[in-house]
Amino acid sequence: MKSDCNPSLSLRDLPGELLAVRFEAMASPCELLLPQADRPQALELGSLVAEEAWRVERKFSRYRDDSVIGWIHQRRGTRLEVDAETGSLLDFAAQCYELTDGLFDVTSGVLRRAWRFDGSDRIPTDADVARLVPLIGFSKVRWERPCLTLPEGMELDFGGFGKEYAVDRAFDILARQRAEPFLINFGGDLRANRPPHSGAWQIGIERPESVRQAAALLELARGALATGGDSHRFLMKDGVRYGHVLNPRTGWPIAGAPRSVTVAASSCTEAGLLATVALLHGTSAEKFLKMQDVRFWILR
């Protein structure tokens, strides 16, 4: 396959006069799909999308010391003034925390200190987990826009909606440039502006056991799809599978969480949030999504 001059972007011809611009961001394969576009145009639009994905990743990654999150983590206990975009994300996190009665919590990332989902059988002890639970709770964070104080020992992580947010941001940028159909896909979280002339976008949902084989093929005209699930991240011990969806109130994996939840909504952020919160509802995931009046697909 032809690789273009920009080393981080690749251009591929797909069947049906479809061009795909591909790149890596946020530890996921990302692509922009353009029907009936020419190659220079595709590269130009693709770099707009990639730049935005990389920007969001650079700015909010919890793995980078030079990100806003890194900066906040280095100044725990201090009152900090944050920029407008970070402020909007914190507002959003606060509203999600409130809407879900604390089930969706951007401070629950500290649990990673005890849980490492590497496919092994290393289950933490009750004591390990119990030590971390007091460090969770968005209500303990002092957030009065634009000032934030993150208490000692706590962590912030926008990973729960960062990728979906990046999709929506890139979508907005591209929608200003292009009226013809396009689809942005960041690691399975995607959004399309309108259907291609051939009818609808065909989207495969991964089967949890297999990365290669699609379990379901969906048709999407426009709007967003986001998928949450634990297809690759789990622990197995004594025949029990521990999924990576952790209850912020107990510190333990949610019992009976579906393998994967896909939700269709108008924005990717909305779809992603609903999928994640559905997973957090465990055995009640279907019941929860039915109440939201959205299209969804659950694999158990």
Partner: protein, 437 residues
């Protein structure tokens, strides 16, 4: 103690509001975020006709009643085109002031009723009203907006309004362009309206005596009105949308109400006769309208001010405030509103004419709509989405308004009229139920 298990509940509306705020939907479609339910015509849903059915009921105390079914349809096509259609039928019955002043003696008038002329008598002390007023108005309008580029759109529209004695045809066109990443919209529009007035029994000669004017009637008259409008709307920030409109128009032709008369009153207060009104044959009007909408998560406030002035001497000032409280979980809102209005009288407005003035006034009208008054309108609206939010909304709205008009610049009547209340004012209620799906 925190609950360890969560009970599923509907969070989608709250989540939509939160993600709209996060993603700055206001930047592109400020108005829709600030006023997510319906700002008049509603949010068009792409590729689907949004149909509105409404029934409006209007009742003035002791006077006119209007019942009006309305059908509207909007479609936002995938290619960016928007088509708007509107159809309504008003049925108007009741009593309408004929322009004559109240007297301490009974007064007898001849007025049109259906296609014939009838007589009616107003008792002493009452404002003369034509009790047989009846009219049916059919109105249809349509507009077509088409994108010329990503930031420019062009709209053409037409409107027809028909009554058995009146026909109005209007054509309009406008162009709108977005600037500054869609934060600013500038629009320019022009329109041309042509009216034909064909009163029952013919058009009376303006200023003529109602007793002797029959022979000089002609069958119809016409009027032309051309106007232009410039508008700027500006997203000030995520929560604030501002809009300024300036309009100018000029009408010429037959400007009278052919059924409105005025009393000739001598110094003792006795009405000695009635003349048909006579208004200038031209009118130039200008207005400035400023609207500010400020929206938060669950609330929005809309404050608008309007100034209007014309070369007839009418100046009017309108201030309206609307507050919307939006219950995101239930998909419903409450919207109380208050409107204050005040106008000055036209230079040629005279509640009656003295004997000395007959023949000396080039223009004269006793139509109370051209007099000085102020008015307050109190409104309450409730809307609820009984469909699927944002995907297939179905809005049911109920609006109730109470209107109270008080006459200003009350010139005391001469002689015996001084003891009578010549300016009773007006109160009215309006109720409307709308279903949009």
């Amino acid at each position: 103690m925190q609950r360890l298990k969560s009970t599923p509940r509907a969070i989608r509306r709250g989540l939509i509001a939160a993600s709209c705020a996060l993603l700055g939907v206001a930047r592109a479609k400020g108005q829709q975020l600030l006023d997510p339910a319906l700002s008049g015509e509603g949010t068009p849903v792409a590729d689907r006709w949004v149909i509105g059915l409404a029934l409006s009921y209007y009742q003035e105390k002791g006077r006119i009643r209007v019942i009006e079914p309305i059908v509207s349809a909007v479609k936002d096509f995938q290619n960016g085109q928007v088509v708007n259609l509107h159809f309504s039928v008003d049925s108007l019955t009741g009593a309408s002031p004929n322009g004559a002043v109240t007297s301490f003696l009974p007064q007898t008038f001849a007025g049109p009723s259906g296609k014939v002329t009838h007589n009616y008598t107003t008792p002493p002390g009452d404002l003369p009203v034509d009790p047989f007023y009846h009219d049916v108005r059919i109105a249809a309008s349509g507009s077509w907006q088409l994108p010329l580029s990503r930031v420019t759109s062009w709209t053409v529209g037409a409107k027809v309004s028909y009554e058995h004695d009146f026909l109005s045809l209007t054509g309009d066109t406008s162009i709108a362009r977005n600037f500054d990443q869609d934060n600013t919209t500038l629009s320019l529009g022009v329109y041309d309206e042509n009216d034909t007035i064909r009163p029952i029994g013919g058009v009376p000669v303006p200023g003529s005596d109602t007793s002797f004017a029959e022979k000089e009637r002609i069958s119809n008259e016409s009027r032309n009105d051309i106007g232009a409008l410039i508008g700027v709307s500006q997203v000030m920030n995520r929560h604030w949308l501002a809009q300024v409109n300036v309009s100018l128009d000029r009408a010429s032709g037959y400007m009278n109400d052919p059924y409105k008369i005025m009393s000739v009153v001598e110094s003792e207060g006795i009405t000695t006769g009635y003349l048909y009104e006579r208004r200038p044959a031209q009118r130039t009007r200008a207005s400035v309208y400023v609207d500010n909408r400020v929206g938060w998560q669950r609330q929005s406030v809309d404050l608008s001010l309007r100034y209007f002035g014309d070369d007839w001497g009418v100046r009017s000032y309108t201030a309206r405030v609307r507050y919307r409280w939006w219950n995101a979980d239930q998909g419903s809102y409450w919207q109380p509103s208050l409107r204050w209005y005040r106008q000055t009288a036209a230079d040629f407005y005279h509640p009656w004419m003295s004997l000395a003035e007959v023949g000396s006034l080039s223009s004269a009208s006793a139509d109370s709509r051209l007099g000085a008054f102020h008015a307050l309108t109190y409104g309450l609206e409730y809307g609820i989405d009984i469909g699927t939010p944002y995907v297939h909304p179905k809005w049911l709205t109920v609006r109730v308004q109470y209107y109270r008009q008080m006459v200003d610049a009350r010139i005391p009547g001469p002689g015996a009229l001084a003891a009578l209340n010549l300016y009773p004012g007006l109160t009215a209620i309006q109720a409307q139920v709308t279903y949009r799906f």
